[in-house]
């Protein structure tokens, strides 16, 4: 880093940017949080708010559960505190088409049940609380039943405070090279939708700020390179609202328009660089349908009912493109994982960090595992493991359904943080009722993003995936935060 710039970032006006960054990274917490729980939406707090305090999953009659599971529904059971009787409340089906229509029909039935229950027909009194439409600041809050329309909903939602697009993956080059990459574009609103003090200059806006992270790890050389970028809304950073078209400096992530007359096919294009010597030009084509995590399209984050998001994921995309490394161009292919999430809320501050995993198994399944770590070292009850089967059906288990073990540690010479280097995840497969064990090993130990802009370092890296016998069964990406310093109070 040039000395002048190194010191310039100490400049006091950076407080402004840092304050923004703090918010942004806070929402990374939320990202991870949502990854852990959003598709369950039946933790201690659900999208129905306080009325459903005490709901527990998987408590409804087994027959109903099995039938719904066989149909690909994500199911819950509501345990009313008073009677302990189970009632099916809500189901959600991420799949489009007829399944979606079936879901609507079931939802209606279940809805009547819920309505009756809420009105006191089957219980001790009305418990319904309509989720708020906006935060006190005027930002939109996720609403259940939102109908996602694409490509519009791939684009930006500036009425929400926070939004990000996140892609990770493993690439294989024609020259035997193997790489892992991460591309994250964040958006953070600085002014609520109704604010009147917007900048007169569209080129130098004051209503949104954009942060982005780009990283590449070379398995063969062990070299890890990354870069962070921050820009205000305007000429050098923006996100379209009608489709996916987000950019930050020379980095862009877009949904390519379909060729006229060609069958509709989603292709996402990433163009990015890291420093002067890495360039990524990648196209991603979904191999599996989009997964919308959460209850009825809303993914709860924490006890606060406003802490929720809309969470959309492509759990497996085919990646093709070109990687330029130190002036050498290589053609690459591989598989990627993409998240898109938008929300307006914060998470609780009793957590010091989180561990997050995306596992892509060779058998066509994916697993997203999330562990929120509390100050006392325990795992937060909102932690979860979500299984995405070959048909993109999501089934999830809570902390009682998985066990997370750190097998090795790695000490960062840059930040002094001690990160888990090798993780073992044992989780209950809700589809089979069997426990499965996964061992996650980083391809390269040092995949730490030191947080030069955000001020908080974290580890996010490509990993290989083995089973309990040591057989390689897939590939993974792992995110580890709060190890260099506690995130408590910061997010």
């Amino acid at each position: 880093m040039t000395t002048a710039m190194h010191h310039f970032i100490n400049y006091k006006f950076w407080l402004a940017a840092r304050a923004v960054l703090a918010h942004l990274v806070a929402n990374e917490t939320k990202v991870a949080d949502s990854r852990g729980r959003s598709s369950v939406a039946t933790r201690r707090e659900t999208s129905f708010g306080r009325a459903f305090r005490g709901l527990k999953p998987h408590g409804y009659p087994q027959k109903v559960a099995q039938r719904l599971a066989a149909d690909g529904w994500v199911t819950w059971r509501v345990n009313r505190d008073a009677g302990g009787q189970g009632n099916v409340l809500r189901v959600t089906d991420p799949r489009a088409g007829s399944a979606g229509r079936r879901r609507d029909a079931v939802t209606k039935c279940v809805g009547w049940l819920v309505a009756g229950w809420l009105l006191g027909l089957g219980g001790p009194g009305p418990l319904w609380a309509e989720p708020a439409a906006h935060t006190a600041d005027g930002y939109a809050l996720p609403q259940p039943g939102r109908q996602f329309v694409f490509p519009r909903d791939h684009g930006s939602h500036p009425d929400f405070a926070i939004e990000w697009w996140y892609v990770t993956g493993h690439l294989f080059a024609t020259n035997q090279g193997q790489y892992g990459f991460q591309a994250t574009f964040f958006r953070k609103a600085l002014l609520a939708p109704g604010a009147t003090n917007r900048s007169a200059s569209a080129d130098f806006g004051n209503d949104q700020i954009y942060l982005a992270h780009m990283a590449l790890v070379d398995k063969n050389s062990g070299e890890f390179r990354y870069q962070e970028r921050l820009n205000r809304a305007g000429w050098d950073a923006a996100a379209a609202t009608n489709t996916l078209d987000v950019r930050n400096g020379n980095w862009t992530y877009r949904l390519l328009p379909s060729a006229p007359g060609a069958p509709a096919r989603e292709v996402f294009a990433l163009q990015a660089t890291i420093g002067a010597d890495v360039a990524l030009t990648l196209n991603f084509t979904p191999k599996k349908p989009l997964v919308v995590f959460g209850t009825n399209g809303v993914s709860r984050k924490a006890a606060d009912p406003q802490a929720a998001s809309h969470y959309l994921t492509y759990s497996r995309l085919a990646a093709t493109g070109t990687l330029t490394l130190d002036t050498t161009n290589v053609t690459v292919t591989g598989e990627a994982w993409m998240d898109h999430e938008f929300s307006s809320s914060q998470v609780g501050n009793d957590q010091v960090g989180w561990d997050w995993l995306s596992l892509q198994l060779f058998d066509g399944r994916e697993i997203m595992a999330y562990r929120m770590r509390r100050k006392d070292g325990t795992t937060d009850p909102y932690s979860t493991v979500a299984w995405v089967d070959q048909h993109s059906v999501v089934r999830q288990v809570g902390p009682d359904g998985f066990k997370w073990t750190v097998r090795e540690h790695w000490h960062s010479p840059k930040t002094g943080a001690d990160y888990p280097a090798k993780m073992q995840l044992a989780a209950l497969n809700p589809q089979t009722g069997q426990w499965e064990t996964f061992v996650v090993e980083p391809l390269v130990a040092d995949q730490e993003l030191a947080g030069k802009i955000g001020g908080v370092g974290y580890w996010e890296g490509a990993c290989r995936l083995r089973d309990a016998t040591g057989r390689e069964i897939g590939r993974a990406y792992m995110e580890l935060t709060g190890y260099g310093q506690s995130l408590e109070g910061k997010f």
């Binding site: 880093m1 190194h6 970032i9 400049y11 604010a195 003090n197 205000r232 002067a276």
Partner: protein, 879 residues
């Protein structure tokens, strides 16, 4: 094997150093003279550097090193260019740093405050949040964020107040802290900015100067009515190898995308930009440096004399040393070492004096440079080791060079011959000083050199190298001839048969002047010639300026932005303001002046939009080439006609009738030079066009100033007071005040020359005293004899005083004669070639008389004091 004795060391300690120690006064004087010469050189170099440092690209403080930049071909860049550039460059990893710059001044403290009395501040508008990306250049295994800055900062979403970041120096000086309100005048309006933080000083980088302020770009755009406009866009590439090649590729891409007929931008490298200030002022700085070498040149005359005298004095010792087996090489080496040590000691003393002098010179040099070239506040001159090393090298090298001949003289004389010639006078000047033909050749060579043109430098600067060489030839030539004057004087006095023992005694030494006499006079000729020559130039300049100012400022009232303090401040008057001024019932006619910097063939100059009729009627221009008809003054016929200043024509080698291609947004416009007028306002030159044309071309209504002619009977003072009240951000001046200010600023720019002249004279007179004491010491046995013959001490002192006085007369006669030639050279060659200004000639008789009397009196006094000292010397005393 026996160790060889360290001969040089022994020679130094037992031979040279002993003599220096035993004659502390003359030794000290010699060192002081040399030190003064070095000090003049060093202080001017430091002052130059400090003044030019103000022009360094301020964004470098922020962006470390930008690789290149684009500017508009003329005027400002629209912000829409940013997105176009990003799209053009695609996935190329490059940070684009948009920059807007303006100047500001604190509000005036008193209504009658002079122009330029308040410091000019530079405000840099940058996209603050995006700057963090430049810090992130060290990707990969680089370090993290170093610490968290404290204090309160405004979030970019908060539009409650315009924040400004100030330098630590300003915070300290004005006691400003976070949240303090900083009152400034920007354009024609007072503005209040909230201090949001202090610009940090990176290690290894210069601290932000007190004059630098930083604001978020959109805030500054709004404050300066420049929303959507940028001054430049800097390109900062990602760190890594092949940076120059990467920039070359981007540059080529940018240039390829530019339309050749209507260019959208001008691409340049940052190095070129950084050097712009250096380039622009190179000629000016070189001129000053050359002037500063004058004192050193005179000093070297004296070092030569001093060492030559020492050779003579120590002749017997050298003979003994030679007899003892010390080789001539070792003797020569010892003398050269001695000369070098003198240079080193004088140089070190000179550095100390020079540093002190620089603190005094920097303000003046800075003001001059900024009045002529660019508006930047000048900080104190910092001690610069590179410059110090240069000055020291110059001192040692010059002193060693001056010692070369004395050293050879000492070494080449065989012991027997030395012994045989012991007691005889030496002739340190050598044959060349006694040869009038040599002097004549120098004078002729000088004459020929004056016919050569200047060397043209990048950025439009011109350096009259040949003219300087001519000056040097004439000074040396006159120095040689001065020896002849000396003997003529001696003979003249003898012929007059004045019965005065001291006079006859004095003349006896002058009739056949020795090399020492000739050298002393040559030194004096050098100092007097240069000083008087400069006095002639300055006086001529003064006369010309007075005439020009009286003619130019004939309108009644002048209004500019109150922030307009130097030639190049970019504060403007907004249309609403100048329209209301022009509409005042007291105003008969208003000339609204618009203008801006343009680049013709990459060379900076000024394009001014004005009312040519008003200019003709109220400014009475002095024509170098008057327009052939009235077309240029007729709005219906002057669309393609311009008036060019003399500096402009000199700079671009153009004449009346020539066509200039003026860069305007969307391409070039050819215009014809209808007339050339004399202008002493700036060195870059100006083109004057009809204001309507300027507005059409540039689409700007911002005015640089408004000149008002009042209705008959209206009081300019009353209007001035009224306008000041109505527009507190305006500087409103009456013509009388402005004339006084213009002359004051002009004279202030010559303060440095006066100081350098004074140093030259001091050195020359001190050298004369040194010569006299040295001559009299050599004659101490004669003096003892004369005293034994009955001459009184007073008579001997008077003889010495007369000798000194006559030396001064010879020096003055030759010096004043050469000063006339130098004055001509300075006015018609050096000044014309450097600045392109034609001056009227003025001979400052009174100044020259004072100078002559001063030199004569000082020399006589020095002779008398030396005489008194010498008559007290015992005949056999060694020193």
């Amino acid at each position: 094997m026996a160790a060889r004795p360290p001969v040089l060391r022994i020679l130094w300690t037992r031979f040279a150093w002993r003599h220096w120690r035993m004659a502390p006064v003359s030794s000290g004087l010699l060192l002081l003279i040399l030190a003064l010469g070095v000090a003049a050189f060093f202080s001017i170099r430091l002052a130059n550097q400090a003044a030019v440092a103000g022009f360094e690209n301020f964004t470098d403080l922020i962006t470390a090193e930008s690789d290149g930049l684009i500017t508009a071909p003329v005027g400002t860049l629209p912000t829409s260019v940013l997105l176009d550039l990003r799209q053009l460059l695609g996935n190329t990893p490059v940070n684009l740093v948009p920059v807007l710059e303006t100047s500001a001044v604190p509000p005036r403290r008193a209504d009658t405050e002079g122009i330029g009395a308040r410091p000019t501040l530079q405000i840099l508008g940058l996209d603050l949040p995006a700057l963090v990306n430049l810090a992130g250049q060290a990707y990969g295994s680089g370090g993290g964020l170093a610490g968290t800055p404290g204090g309160a900062g405004r979030r970019i979403g908060d539009q409650s107040a315009a924040d400004v970041y100030i330098s630590a120096a300003l915070a300290r000086r004005d006691g400003l802290t976070n949240g303090s309100i900083l009152s400034l005048v920007i354009n024609d309006r007072p503005a209040e900015l909230r201090v949001a933080g202090v610009i940090p000083t990176p290690p290894g980088r210069p601290a932000a100067p007190a004059s630098l302020l930083i604001m978020d770009l959109p805030d500054l755009q709004a404050l300066t009515d420049k929303t959507g406009q940028l001054d430049r866009i800097e390109f900062v590439l990602e760190a890594g190898p092949h940076r120059a090649e990467r920039w070359a590729r981007i540059k080529a891409q940018l240039e390829a995308a530019n339309s050749p007929t209507a260019p959208r931008w001008v691409v340049s490298s940052s190095a070129a930009r950084r050097d712009a200030g250096l380039t622009m002022t190179r000629a000016f700085r070189l001129n000053l440096t050359i002037l500063s070498l004058l004192a050193l040149l005179v000093g070297l005359y004296l070092v030569f004399q001093g060492l030559q005298g020492a050779v003579v004095r120590r002749r017997s010792e050298i003979a003994i040393l030679r007899s003892l087996g010390v080789t001539s090489g070792q003797i020569q080496g010892a003398w050269l070492v001695e000369a070098a040590v003198v240079g080193l000691a004088g140089g070190l003393l000179g550095l100390a004096l020079g540093w002190l002098g620089a603190q005094l010179a920097v303000q003046t040099v800075g003001r001059t440079m900024h009045a002529l070239y660019f508006g930047r506040a000048v900080e104190a001159a910092a001690f610069d080791f590179k410059e110090a090393l240069l000055a020291l090298t110059v001192a040692v090298a010059a002193s060693t060079l001056a010692g070369w001949r004395p050293a050879r003289l000492a070494a080449n004389t065989p012991p027997a011959q030395i012994a045989a010639r012991a007691g005889s006078a030496s002739d340190p000047g050598g044959r060349w000083l006694n040869h009038p033909g040599f002097g004549l050749a120098l004078l002729v060579a000088g004459g020929l050199l004056t016919t050569l043109p200047p060397v043209r430098m990048d950025g439009g600067g011109r350096l009259p190298v040949a003219a300087y060489a001519a000056a040097l030839c004439w000074i040396f030539g006159a120095g040689v001839f001065a020896g002849q004057i000396l003997s003529g004087l001696g003979r003249l006095i003898q012929w007059l048969k004045i019965e005065s023992v001291p006079l006859r005694l004095a003349c006896s030494h002058l009739r056949a002047p020795g090399g020492r006499h000739r050298l002393a006079v040559a030194g004096l000729v050098c100092a007097v010639g240069m000083t008087a020559g400069m006095a002639i130039l300055v006086s001529s300049f003064d006369l010309t300026m007075r005439g020009w100012i009286a003619r130019t400022f004939q309108a009644d009232v002048y209004a500019t932005s109150d922030g307009d303090q130097t030639a190049s401040t970019i504060n403007r008057i907004v249309p609403a303001t100048w329209q209301s001024i022009a509409a005042d019932p007291a105003v008969k006619q208003a000339n609204v002046i618009q203008g801006g910097e343009i680049f013709i063939n990459g060379v900076s100059t000024l394009l001014v939009g004005h009312d040519p009729r008003f200019y003709r009627d109220y400014s009475h221009p002095a024509w170098v080439s008057a327009p052939r008809d009235d077309a240029v003054f007729d709005a219906a016929r002057n669309a393609e006609l311009v008036l060019a200043s003399e500096s402009f024509c000199e700079r671009f080698r153009l004449h009346r009738g020539d066509v200039v291609r003026v860069p305007i947004p969307g391409g070039d416009r050819p215009v014809t030079i209808a007339g050339v007028y004399a202008d002493y306002g700036n060195e870059r030159g100006s083109l004057l066009i009809e204001r309507r044309q300027f507005t059409n071309w540039f689409g700007s209504q911002l005015a640089a100033s408004v000149i008002l002619a009042l209705q008959p009977g209206e009081d300019p003072e009353a209007l001035r007071a009224k306008l000041r009240l109505a527009h507190p951000g305006l500087g409103v001046y009456t013509s009388g005040f402005l004339r006084g200010e213009a002359l004051r600023i002009f004279r202030q720019t010559f303060a440095v020359t006066y100081a350098l002249e004074l140093i030259g004279i001091i050195v020359a007179v001190a050298g004369l005293a040194f010569t006299m004491s040295s001559l009299l010491w050599e004659r101490r046995n004669d003096l003892a004899t004369l005293r034994a013959l009955g001459l009184r001490r007073r008579e001997l002192s008077a003889a010495a005083a007369l000798e000194g006085g006559l030396l001064a007369v010879a020096g003055l006669v030759a010096g004043l004669l050469v000063s006339l030639a130098l004055g001509w050279l300075l006015i018609f060659r050096i000044n014309k070639q450097t600045f392109g200004w034609t001056l009227q000639t003025d001979l400052p008789g009174a100044q020259l008389l004072v100078l002559a009397l001063l030199v004569l009196a000082s020399a006589t006094l020095a002779g008398w004091l030396a005489g008194r000292w010498a008559t007290r010397l015992p005949a056999e005393r060694e020193e």
